[in-house]
């Protein structure tokens, strides 16, 4: 595992979460444990969230990877949809990875399903294919300045990953691979189609946590084409990103 722990990122950063903070991880199903490890590596405290009453105590929230259909059923059954939408509107940082990104998206395709609808993107589920098309790729360089802190390549672990097909006007690309958006930001909300918690790289999480109310950097990178771009889907399943599988 690359020694890419930029643990000082959030604590020493200029964002609002500079001291130890309480980061909730939605723990209905999925890889919430891996997220807890990442949060603790940054020196923050993680809390498993299964009930709406826990939300007010949190400084930030992670929606982990897993099965979005399963999580969605729980959110509806347990009355968590509106409390989570309210949390997302509160300006506190939220990171959604893979299934979590699907939950955040305004529009979900492949097939269409409900979501929190708080981040203005269209996302396609299982866009690369099934497990055999899962891959480990690398982010385009140079990395976004907000992810700096280490020169190490940013590894993108993609498991039955979704694809971001449309970006709203207020959505900024944080991480791309072959020009495709892999992590995007709108205000304090970040959605990533890869799993930073699977590679143990803390840079994206540190960036999310240093965001919050002050961190809306939309427009900071003028060269990034963010304006309602319609993006093309991968034409062949394995050509989506440079992959360890073929090396």
């Amino acid at each position: 595992m690359a020694a890419s722990d930029t643990g000082s990122g959030a604590r020493a950063g200029t964002g609002r979460l500079s001291a130890e903070c309480i980061v909730g991880v939605l723990a209905l199903q999925g890889d919430f444990e891996a997220h807890e490890r990442l949060i603790e590596r940054l020196g923050h405290r993680s809390v498993r969230v299964r009930r709406a009453v826990q939300l007010p105590d949190l400084d930030a929230l992670v929606l982990p990877g897993g099965e979005s259909t399963t999580m969605l059923l729980f959110l509806e059954r347990e009355g968590l949809m509106q409390p989570l939408r309210d949390f997302c509107a509160s300006g506190r940082p939220v990171l959604g990875t893979c299934a979590g990104a699907i939950l955040l998206a305004r529009t979900v395709e492949g097939p269409r399903q409900d979501s929190l609808g708080v981040l203005d993107i269209t996302i396609r589920r299982n866009a690369y294919g099934r497990q055999l098309q899962s891959f480990v790729g690398h982010a385009d360089t140079p990395l976004h300045p907000d992810l700096a802190g280490s020169d190490a390549a940013l590894e993108l672990v993609c498991i039955r990953a979704p694809l971001i097909e449309r970006l709203g006007p207020d959505v900024e690309v944080l991480v791309s691979a072959d020009g495709r958006p892999m992590a995007v930001r709108q205000g304090a909300l970040v959605a990533s189609t890869f799993h930073p918690e699977m590679s143990g790289d803390t840079r994206l999480l540190a960036c999310v946590l240093s965001g919050g109310a002050t961190g809306n950097a939309a427009g900071k990178v003028a060269a990034t084409p963010t304006h309602a771009a319609t993006l093309t889907a991968p034409s062949a399943s394995t050509s989506a990103a440079p992959s360890e599988r073929t090396s």
Partner: protein, 299 residues
């Protein structure tokens, strides 16, 4: 952990999918309709089968990999991952399943073993494998062969949780014992349990299996699901327990809820309360003829 997976696919991509299934329920299904019921109830994956284990037990004969048309139809119906079983040692069945594109293969004692001496060399495959184990040595032998997820064997199709409990407790106890050993004791421990030394060292250092550790074999009620999670399972496989009950949709939903909220008795109670139907019929495993046991298949 370093990637010692197949020469093609890194192990963390294989264990990565298992990570995504944690806290969830993987359900055995034999038809498209059952697969839909499972997905709608909140299953995080389905296992496509021709017959559930209790029917395999009842019907006898040779149990093989499921018919391809059944697996394909299920893959075409649900958006959650689809797993399928191959016989122990039957690497040609496994190749067919990989070619078909299933998301996980269960090299399973529930099917009739094809090889009495050797399991599949799972490093040769890009698709991840799950294997059953009754103890830590067996679990680490399977990981050594490339398994990316371990589950208890339990006693499939019995509706009786006692064997799954035994297997989970046995594995957990052996892992705790390893963490207390001096480094000079580990080679002897590896010899005694017939497990690869490097994996024994890894468990001694972490107190955990190097791959996700799920429960299977006998889960029939929401409380069973909560029990296995309490004993250290990271997710539950439910075979006959859902579609051999008298109200599959309710059992499926209740078992999913009890798995997620396993440590909240009030939530497990509420899940159990939704059920007003009979659970699957159970068997006293102690009274089964040893030849009828599925868990003794494989080594």
């Amino acid at each position: 952990m370093t990637d010692n997976g197949s020469q093609h696919t890194p192990l963390r991509l294989k264990t990565g999918l298992a990570e995504m299934l944690k806290g969830g329920v993987i359900m055995d299904v034999t038809t498209v309709e059952q697969a839909k019921i499972a997905e709608d109830a909140g299953a995080c994956a389905v296992m496509a089968l021709e017959r559930v284990p209790s029917d395999i037990r009842k019907d006898g004969g040779v149990a093989r990999m499921a018919r391809i048309d059944i697996i394909e139809a299920i893959m075409g119906t649900v958006t959650i991952p689809v797993m399928a079983k191959c016989r122990i040692g039957h690497f040609a069945e496994a190749r067919v399943l990989q070619q078909l594109g299933v998301d996980y293969i269960d090299e399973s004692e529930v099917l009739t073993p094809a090889d009495e001496a050797y399991h599949v060399n799972k490093h040769d495959f890009d698709v991840p494998f799950v294997c059953g184990a009754r103890n830590l040595g067996e679990a680490l032998r399977r990981v050594g062969e490339g398994a990316a997820m371990i589950r208890t064997k339990g006693e499939a199709g019995s509706g009786n949780i006692v064997e799954a409990v035994r297997h989970m407790r046995t594995v957990q106890k052996a892992m705790r014992e390893l963490t207390l050993m001096g480094s000079e004791e580990l080679m002897t421990a590896a010899k005694d349990m017939g497990a690869p030394f490097e994996l024994v060292r890894m468990v001694a250092a972490t107190g955990k299996l190097p791959v996700p550790n799920f429960a299977a074999g006998g889960i029939a009620t929401p409380a069973d699901a909560s029990l296995m999670m309490s004993l250290g399972a990271e997710a539950n496989f439910v075979g006959s327990g859902i579609f051999k009950s008298s109200d599959p949709a309710k059992f499926a939903t209740a078992i999913v809820t009890a798995t997620t909220h396993w440590d909240d008795p009030q939530r497990v109670l509420e899940a159990a309360r939704t059920i007003s139907a009979e659970a699957m019929p159970g068997l006293d495993v102690a009274k089964l003829d040893p030849a009828e046991l599925l868990q003794t298949r494989g080594w």
